[in-house]
Structures are given as C-alpha cells and as structure tokens.
C-alpha cells in the first residue's frame, strides 16, 4: 500500500478538463475530465461506445476536441496531429499492431528516423538504435528477423519499444492484451511496471477486469460519453466497478416498466438446447416465448453478441439444436428470416444498414428478401410501408428518399428496427438497441420494445446497460466469459443480483 501511494503521488502529467466531442448525431464525449499522474498505471474502462477511444484520440491529436482544455505538465497544449503529441512525449500503441510484418525488427524500429548519409541508410547505426530501443524494455529479440515471424506478444512489445523514446512521458496502451495469453500478458505487465518505475505515466485500456486489478493503480470509468468516476484501485471492489461500467439511473419510462413483469406463460417459440460454437460460446440452453422479453446481460466480451448471432445463424453453431415452434431453425440468416426471426445488429454502420441506400430502400430490404427477388414490392407499396414506419417510429427524416447515412444515430437505429418490423417477424433479436443514441430516442425505443412484446412478439434484448435490462426484461440470462451462467426471473431480477452473477465467486 505504501508503494502504491508513492506511485500515485507523482506529479500531474496530464489534465484534461471539460472535454467535449460530438460526431454527427452522437455526443461521444460530454464534459469529461481526466487526470494522469507520472509513474502510475491508469486503467480506462468502459463498454463499447463509452468514449474511451475518442478520449485517447483527443489526447493524442488524432481528433480535435470541440471544447475543453488539455494541460501537459501544467502547460496548455493543442495537438493538431498525432506527430505533435509524439514530439511532446505522448506515445500511443493501438490495438491493431502498427508494424510492417514483412520488414525486419530493425527496419520497423527505425522507420521514422533513419540514420545515414547522402540518403543511404547506415544499417550499423540503425541496428544500434533499434537495440537501444529494445534494451529500454529489456527485450531480447533477433534484430534481423522479420516482425511477422515473431509471436503476437513479441510484436506487441516491439510496438511498445518503437513508441518509446528517451523523453516519453506518457504511454497509451489500447487493449494491449486482447490477443495475448496469460504468460504473455504477465510479461507485458512486467514491462509496464518497469516503465512505471521510470516515472512514465501509462494509460491502460482493457476490458479484462482481473487485469485491471492486477496491474493498475487507479481507474477511470466512462459510460456513454460521460465520466462516471475515478478511484484508487484499492478503494473499489469488483461489484461497484461493474455497476459503474454498466449501471445507469432509470429514466421515467423504465421506472414505469420495471414494476410489471409478465410470468412467461406464452407459447414457446424457440428452444435452444446445448447450442454453442467452439472458441466462441459454450453450449447454452435458452427458450423464448411469445409476448416475453428476455434480457441478455454480461460484460463486453462475455458473449452477448455471439449468443444472438448463433441464434440468428449469422454464426453457425457446431453443437446442439435450435428448435422453433414449427420445426428446426435454419443455420443461416436467410433461413432465419423465413422462419420469422430478425436480427437488429449492434454495429449499425458496418452490419446494420446500407448507408448509400435511402431510408425507404433500407426499410423494405428484409421484407423484400423474404419475398424473394422475383416478387418485387411495388414502388407505391414501398412508399406506403416506409411512410407508415417513419410515422410509427417517429423517424426524423423529410421523407423516405433521404440516404440513411445522413440520419443521426438514433434515427438510424429506428430504421434498423423498422426494417425488422416490416418483415413481420415473430422473434426479434436486438443487440444493443439503445447504444449511442440520445435520451429521447432511447425512451422511444424502450417503449416500442414493450409495445411489440404486448403484441405477442418474442424478444431477446442484449444490452450492456444493466438497469435497462432490469427495467425491460421479464427474464434475464446472464453471461460471463463466453458462457451462459444462469437465468433470473421475477423478483430476482435486480441490479445487485445480476452484478453478483457477472462478478462471479472468484473475488
């Protein structure tokens, strides 16, 4: 404890105050403060879309902030590009290793700054410089081998070595352990601790909570673009941390829903028995009933999205059976659609919508796919359906002809829902239906989910927001470490019970 105090008592290196950053339709950072001390490892936590990456990009000059100030060692700074931040001593290692696999370690380490005369490179000097960089981390790596021939862990270290200079003050590591095994992670942590001992401030972005407890001194949690809090790691237990990451105060709409839960007496429309896929999700059992909302809760990486995609057939299951009320489900999206199952994916931009097509075309796409290419939905019918949906879901667009990519996040999400609804489904799978959208649209979508359920649809809603799950679900399935660990029903659906299950017994 004494040692930790000594570490965290370092001078303030970076102070970010009142940082705000908006993308079209999305407020990515809302008045966020962040402070980083010399000689500390500071974990930055939050679910997807919480604003971690945006905050780092603002810090390193990859993005320009809309408001707020950044102080480095007490001096205000404005980095126009990442090179400026680098020169000021802020280095970043991104999740995807930014090395050139086909080039040697020496070449990769000396890319930015080559040594030599008359435009010729002196490889002797380059090797010396590369060696020096590796020595800084105590790394033993063959300089003349290509980077690609080393393991991912070594590549990660080489990337860190490249980022470090004698005058590096701040090192940002974005998910450095995502593709490392336990031994490799331990080796990386040793390096991080030795850098910390040299007074370098390290920002450590990860979603592995046990690693946070193992290596960091302080944590800061972001959620939905806001800073939720900063704490010494010793002062916060795992449950509180999880609650900070995925908790949210209930809005009026959710409060109203939370009181009423249905008993699950509807007809069973889907039964999964031992459905799973190797290395993706352990086999699970799950039933969905008409007129019931099943919530899916778990941390990022726990297998929420994977479970939904396995049911939809977007990921093929290699064990178990998936039965529908009227037979066996197909193992692909097309067959699922025919069987009355629709998926509203988590990532609207890459998996949800076709940005270059109009609102109308996106809305009728699934419906048309279900009908087959020969039976075209007539233009008049398309317009009628699109107009109905635009009205019913209050999509803010002048008409159906606007390109979907020009809509705001919340309205895009409504188009995804509209497309699903237009195909007259019986089972709807919603993956993060309220991510990255404003409060108003949020409440509207939750109300819609409730209404659909009352109309007899079976819904499965995966969400990173625990209170939302608590508020809108009749039954909750909880996931941890790519495994379904249980279900909660009725009175048992509370934030505390879910958090306890997610945190596990190993605390």
């Amino acid at each position: 404890m004494a040692i930790m105090k000594a570490n965290t008592a370092g001078a303030t290196r970076i102070a970010m105050r009142g940082i705000r950053k908006a993308y079209p339709g999305v407020l990515a950072l809302d008045d966020v403060d962040f402070e980083l001390h010399g000689g500390e490892i500071h974990a930055l936590l939050g679910e997807n879309g919480a604003g971690k990456s945006t905050l780092i990009k603002v810090l390193t000059g990859a993005l320009q902030r809309d408001r707020g100030e950044i102080m480095l060692d007490g001096e205000p700074v404005n980095f126009a590009k990442t090179g400026d931040a680098q020169d000021a001593g802020i280095s970043t290692v991104y999740q995807e290793v930014n090395l050139i696999p086909a080039m040697t370690v020496t070449q990769n380490l000396t890319l930015e700054k080559t040594h030599g005369r008359f435009g010729f490179i002196s490889w002797r000097k380059a090797r010396a410089q590369a060696q020096q960089k590796l020595d800084r981390l105590g790394l033993k790596v063959e300089l003349n081998r290509t980077v690609g021939s080393h393991s991912v862990a070594i590549q990660q270290m080489i990337a860190i070595a490249r980022a470090l200079d004698d005058d590096t003050k701040v090192l940002v590591l974005d998910e450095p352990t995502a593709s490392l095994d336990a031994d490799e992670t331990a080796a990386l942590f040793d390096v991080m601790r030795s850098l910390k001992a040299k007074g370098i401030a390290i920002v450590f972005i990860t979603h592995f909570l046990e690693q946070v407890y193992e290596v960091s001194d302080r944590i800061t949690v972001l959620r939905n673009g806001c800073k939720i809090g900063t704490s010494l790691i010793g002062d916060i237990n795992r449950q509180d941390l999880i609650a900070m990451m995925i908790g949210r105060d209930l809005g009026e709409v959710e409060e109203a829903f939370a009181g009423e839960r249905r008993d699950g007496s509807g007809e069973v429309v889907l039964t999964a028995e031992g459905v799973g896929r190797k290395r993706v999700l352990a086999p699970f059992d799950l039933t969905l009933r008409a007129g019931e909302v099943v919530g899916l809760s778990g941390l990022l990486g726990s297998g929420r999205t994977e479970l939904v995609k396995l049911i939809f057939g977007a990921l093929k299951h290699d064990s178990g059976t998936l039965k529908l009320a009227n037979g066996t489900a197909g193992n692909n999206p097309r067959a699922s659609l025919d069987a009355g199952i629709v998926l509203c994916p988590e990532d609207r931009k890459s998996e949800g919508l076709v940005g270059e097509l109009s609102v109308r075309e996106n809305i009728i796409l699934s419906m048309q796919a279900k009908r087959g290419w020969l039976r075209k939905v007539s233009r008049a019918e398309q317009e009628k359906i699109a107009d109905e949906m635009i009205r019913a879901l209050a999509i803010a667009t002048p008409d159906g002809e606007k390109l979907v990519r020009q809509l705001s996040g919340g309205n895009q999400q409504k188009v995804v829902l509209a497309r699903a609804l237009a195909s007259s489904p019986r089972i709807m799978l919603l993956d993060e239906p309220t991510r990255g959208i404003d409060v108003g649209a949020h409440a509207e979508i939750l109300t819609l989910i409730r209404t659909l359920c009352e109309d007899g649809l079976a819904l499965l809603v995966a969400s990173s927001e625990i209170d939302e799950v608590v508020a809108s679900s009749d039954r909750v399935a909880v996931l941890r470490d790519r495994r379904k660990i249980g279900e909660l029903t009725g009175e048992d659906i509370t934030r505390d019970k879910i958090v306890t299950m997610i945190a596990g017994d190993n605390l």
Partner: protein, 339 residues
C-alpha cells in the same frame, strides 16, 4: 423538418446525369465544326449511313459489355475477363459452324459459353471469396488461350466461317436501321426489366453498399454476386457474337482487346462508383457513347492516330473531374446567389 427547394441551375449542376450528356453534346458539336458534313445521314444499300449512325453502330459491343460491367461494379466487384469471354464466345461460333450445327443453335452455344465463363468468375468471387480483380484476372489471362484451343479442335487452320444469320445479326439492317441496334435495344430492355422490375437491382445495390449488413438483413449476398458475374458473362458473350460475326472469323488473340477498360470507363463516366452500391444502366450506355464518339471524332478530325488515346484520356479525366463531388461543389458555389 423542412424541405429546401434548390434553384433549378443548382439542381441540374448537382445532378449526376448532366455531365456525361454534356460531354457527349460537346463532342458532337465540336465534330460539326471539324467536319462540315458530320451530321449527314444517307441511305446506302437499304441501310442508314453517316457518322452519327456509325457511332451508335460501333458503340454496341462496348455498351453491351458495359451493361454487364455496371451490374458487377454495383456489387463492388469488377470483371477484367470480359474481352477474353468475348474471344471464347467467338471461338465457339467458328467451331460449332464448322461442326455443322444450325446457326441458331450456334448462337446459343456462344451465349452459353459466356454464361459459363460468368459462372466461373461468380464462383471464384462469391463462393471462394477471391478478390474480384484477381479472380477475373485468371480468366482474362487464360481465356484467349482457351479460345485458341477451341480453334484447334477442328484443325485450327482456318477459323473463318460464313453464316447469313449471325452476320445479319451483326452487320445487317431492318428498316434502314442496323440489326445490332435492335439486338442491343432488346438486351437493354430485358436487363432493365430484370434489374428494375424485380428486386435484383435493389439486392445488388444493397450487397455492393454493405455486404455484411445485407446478409444480416436476409439478402443472400453470395448468390447476388454470383448472379451479377453471370449477367456480365452473358453480355460479354453477346459482344463476342457481334464482333466475331462482323469479321466472320474467330480471332481470339485480338478480338475485343482492352474492351474491359473501355467498359469500366463507360460505367464510371455514367456515374457508377467502383465502391459499388449503385447501378445506372441508361447512363452507362451514354458513357459508352461518349467513348465511341470521341474515338470516331479523332479519326475524322485527321489527327494522327497516336493522339487518339491521349485525347481520350484527357476527355475522360475532364468528365471525371466534373463528376467528383469536390470539384462540383467548387463549380456550384459560383452559381450561388450572393447573400
């Protein structure tokens, strides 16, 4: 939310369609100055003759291939093998005529060969996931060799043939108008019906715009991509028929050489983007006409043929600059009313 009425001039300038049409008009008007009798059309041997007819006539093979290419590009793909497919279709004609098949059947053989080639490309791209440029490069490289091998089947000494039916399709005329224009019109109409009157066009555009999203929305993206290459193979086969019947000889080495580049250009001039997601069949035809009009006018201008390719490149560059959003915004801002 309020709709903003755009002034007429801006709406036209913002539109995609105006630039290729304008380019075509400028080229044709310039031709009037270069060659006084340019617009003259006479009737010779029961068929219309003249420069304007000639441009339409010669543009047919490129335009046919460009139609198929537009569909493939709509899926975010590309087909480099169209010239080779035309060569294979031509070789099929010479072979089957030598073998004594009825000439109607010979036509089916040639088109069938085109479809098979398209299916091969489609299989590589859609089902094996090979990048389109590489997948179609395979047939582009090997196709002309396959054509020569087909010629060898019957000895290979004389790949020329006589066929009244096929030559009528290519070089004949009905009511003073060249038959191949009718052929083209029918193919265009059928393709337009398939693309726009069924949902295929929407599926192609959805797949090209975002294959992953389309797949999750229930569109069978692989099948759609496969179908696009099949269509492209068919139109390339037709181009092979027209070109081969014109010379009544199978010449796999040089028939339709570099036609894939003209076809891609035609699609792009017509407003298609290599990033996929949109099909403009009509504008693609205009694109093919721009290219042919340019070639024809350089020929009649008396400029040495060496200039042909350079001038063509310059005009294409000009049209594309006008189409680029950045350049267009710059021009449009000039028309903005001062506040």
């Amino acid at each position: 939310m309020k709709l903003i009425e755009q002034p007429f001039v801006r709406r036209i300038l913002n539109g995609r369609a105006i630039w290729p049409l304008l380019a075509l008009a400028v080229i044709l008007i310039a031709d009037g100055f270069i060659s006084p009798g340019f617009y003259e059309i006479r009737i010779v041997e029961g068929r219309l003759f003249g420069n304007l007819i000639d441009i339409l006539y010669r543009a047919v093979p490129t335009a046919l291939i460009a139609l198929g290419m537009a569909v493939v590009i709509g899926t975010r793909g590309i087909d480099l093998s169209v010239g080779s497919i035309a060569a294979i279709a031509g070789a099929m004609i010479a072979w089957r005529i030598q073998a004594g098949d009825p000439h109607g059947v010979v036509l089916l053989y040639a088109l069938g060969a085109g479809i098979l080639c398209g299916m091969w490309n489609g299989m590589l791209v859609a089902f094996l996931g090979i990048q389109p440029i590489i997948a179609t490069l395979i047939l582009m490289v090997s196709g002309r060799g396959i054509g020569m091998l087909i010629n060898l089947i019957y000895g290979g000494t004389d790949p020329s043939f006589q066929s009244d039916f096929l030559q009528w399709l290519s070089t004949g005329s009905i009511l003073f108008i060249p038959t191949r224009l009718y052929v083209f019109a029918v193919i265009f109409l059928l393709l337009w019906l398939v693309i726009r009157r069924t949902a295929l066009g929407l599926f192609v555009e959805a797949t090209g715009g975002n294959a992953a999203a389309s797949n999750l929305a229930g569109v069978n993206a692989k099948l759609i991509i496969f179908a696009a290459y099949l269509i492209c193979g068919l139109t390339a086969g037709w181009a092979g028929v027209i070109l081969t019947a014109d010379t009544h000889t199978s010449d796999p080495v040089s028939v339709a050489l570099y036609i894939e580049l003209d076809a891609i250009l035609a699609v792009v001039i017509g407003g298609g983007s290599l990033a996929g997601g949109r099909i403009y069949l009509g504008m693609t035809v205009i694109g093919a006409l721009v290219i042919q009009a340019l070639t024809t006018s350089i020929l009649i201008s008396g400029l040495p043929p060496e200039y042909n390719l350079i001038i063509k490149a310059l005009v294409v560059l000009f049209v594309l600059v006008l189409q680029s959003d950045n350049a267009r915004r710059g021009i449009v801002s000039k028309f903005r009313r001062s506040p």
